[in-house]
């Protein structure tokens, strides 16, 4: 376990919940604290100490939630850790971390376009980003489980 992440767990920002195969440590956090967590990561690990690999958005239809997994690769050992949070499916909003970590541009724009999550404070969000215009006009978010495309 990485020491800096361990400190964040002790401070209550993250909660350890298990692993994703193969051996990726999984932590949960409340979505209001996203900016606080990444500020702490930047402070403790440094700009060169980690990179944001991707954000995976998944529509969990039965819980009426959208799950966001932030995959962070901690250098120099390249240990991948997963920071997981949930947002409400009917009102999916979370703060953007684009100004802290520019690497969030591609995944945030993509998730906004495909799942409809609003990253507050990201000026680059736009539709259509990837999906065709006719889907945008109909207000369809293709990766939602109830979307028929």
């Amino acid at each position: 376990m990485i020491e800096e992440i361990n400190e964040l767990v002790k401070e209550g920002l993250l909660k350890e919940v298990g692993t994703i195969k193969p051996n990726r440590e999984l932590y949960e956090f409340s979505h209001e604290r996203i900016r606080e967590i990444f500020k702490q990561l930047l402070e403790r690990l440094g700009e060169k100490g980690f990179y944001l690999a991707t954000i995976v958005g998944t529509d969990i239809l039965k819980d009426k939630k959208i799950r966001l997994d932030y995959y962070v690769v901690v250098l120099p050992e390249e240990t991948t850790i997963v920071l997981r949070t949930y947002v409400d499916r009917d009102n999916p909003e979370i703060n953007s971390i684009l100004d802290l970590i520019p690497a969030a541009l591609a995944p945030e724009c993509e998730i906004h376009d495909l799942l409809g999550v609003v990253f507050k404070g990201n000026p680059a969000l736009r539709r259509p980003f990837f999906v065709p215009e006719e889907l945008v006009e109909k207000g369809i978010y293709p990766l939602r489980k109830d979307a028929r495309v």
Partner: protein
């Protein structure tokens, strides 16, 4: 007020690169059209916008609608040039969920196929770079020698490009000893050629003039912007999923992670040459040490038909950088979620900043140095703001420009 001088800009250059990239899901990786809108003040690029969405094929959604077995072939079609790594990453994610492991021989064969892919991909982008800077004969020479690698890949997988080589629990074709001898001969023929091209990139004045100190990415920027693969390694960031995750047989094979500290377009191309040589070494090691135990090709009738619930997140070092698959199964024959993150999505979308301050003629060089697999970035529109006149210039002529001698037809 100081700093607020009125600057008269009456001409804007808009560069729509129609870069044809066929990927997939959400990612412009290869041969899908993408538009880079560059705004230039004189020769200097002041702003670049990346526009996407021309060829979104919805592969992630498609994968959710098809069975795990069909998905192997669907994800291979995400990207033409690195179909093996895509299939490998997906197959390994599902193997994690299933809890099965391929035989050592299959693992070595997977490495063999993926390293051949890395070699021809790196040769391709270096050839394209030669073409972009106007060195067409070098482009043709590299492409000719690349054919040896394509032939090798055909010997191993049965096809030059789209291999469909991976299957849960192994690979789909074994390698006989006479084929191994053929492969050795082909690789031995390519290695001196790559060394020669590397020397050329180090010594040729035209190449150095166009590439050195162009598109500089500082190490801290490489991590902040999430740049991957040879782009990050050329900026001194030592990341390589092969070395850190040790997937398949990479844990047993000795190889070096190539890192350079020059941070410019030239360093990125040099990293690719060195990696191609390193791949050749890995291939020779695999051919010498191919394990005899275990069946490489699993019996397809006995492969599992039920997939337990679970999730897996696998990384693989594709030619362009870290490729990621996240696969979630809820116990049904079809995956609940497949997320694909190709390296190009970061290397293209997040790099708009790094064009700023360079000349228009450097733009194709910088774009090529990300290895975005350019096929048809062919047009440039010049708009004269005074007359509203628009004219189109082919990308190649633009690239031939250079800082010092610009064709008077296209100079402002």
């Amino acid at each position: 007020m100081q700093g607020c001088r009125a600057v008269a800009i009456d001409k804007v250059i808009e560069v729509p690169y129609a870069l044809e990239i066929p990927v997939g899901p959400q990612h412009p990786a290869l041969h899908e059209p993408i538009l880079l809108k560059a705004y230039a003040d004189g020769e200097e690029v002041v702003k670049v916008e990346v526009h996407t969405g021309y060829n979104h094929r919805g592969i992630e959604k498609l994968a959710e609608k098809n069975s795990f077995y069909r998905d192997i072939f669907i994800v291979s079609r995400v990207c033409g040039i690195c179909n093996g790594v895509h299939a490998n990453c997906f197959v390994r994610a599902v193997e994690q969920i299933l809890g099965i492991e391929p035989s050592p021989r299959a693992k070595y064969l997977r490495v063999l196929a993926m390293e051949l892919e890395r070699m021809h991909s790196h040769m391709l982008i270096n050839a394209v770079m030669a073409e972009i800077i106007g060195f067409d004969s070098l482009f043709m020479n590299i492409m000719r020698d690349r054919e040896y690698i394509m032939k090798s890949k055909e010997i191993v997988t049965g096809n030059r490009v789209s291999a469909d080589y991976m299957i849960f629990g192994g690979v789909r074709r074994d390698l006989s000893s006479d084929k191994i001898d053929k492969l050795r001969k082909l690789i031995d023929r390519v290695i001196p050629r790559i060394k020669y091209y590397k020397k050329l990139f180090m010594e040729d004045e035209t190449i150095l003039k166009r590439l050195v100190d162009v598109g500089v990415v500082k190490p801290s920027e490489a991590t902040l912007y999430g740049l991957l693969g040879p782009v990050a390694r050329a900026s001194g960031v030592k990341i390589d999923a092969r070395a850190s995750d040790k997937y398949d047989a990479y844990g047993e094979i000795p190889f070096n992670v190539i890192v350079r500290n020059e941070c410019d377009a030239w360093a990125r191309m040099m990293v690719r040459w060195d990696e191609a040589l390193e791949s050749a070494k890995i291939i020779k090691y695999v051919l010498d040490h191919l394990p005899q135990d275990g069946k490489a090709v699993p019996d397809e009738r006995r492969l599992p038909r039920r997939f337990p619930p679970g999730e897996a997140y696998t990384r693989v070092e594709a030619p362009r950088g870290e490729l990621i698959y996240y696969v979630m199964s809820d116990g049904k024959p079809m995956p609940y979620r497949v997320k694909i993150r190709t390296p190009s999505v970061h290397n293209i979308l997040n790099t708009a900043k790094f064009y700023i301050g360079y000349s228009i003629a450097d733009l194709p060089v910088i774009l090529t140095s990300w290895d975005p697999c350019i096929s048809c970035m062919e047009r440039l529109t010049i708009i004269d703001l005074r007359t509203g006149e628009r004219r189109k210039v082919p990308m190649k002529e633009l690239a031939g420009g250079g800082k010092k001698w610009v064709n008077p037809r296209y100079s402002l």
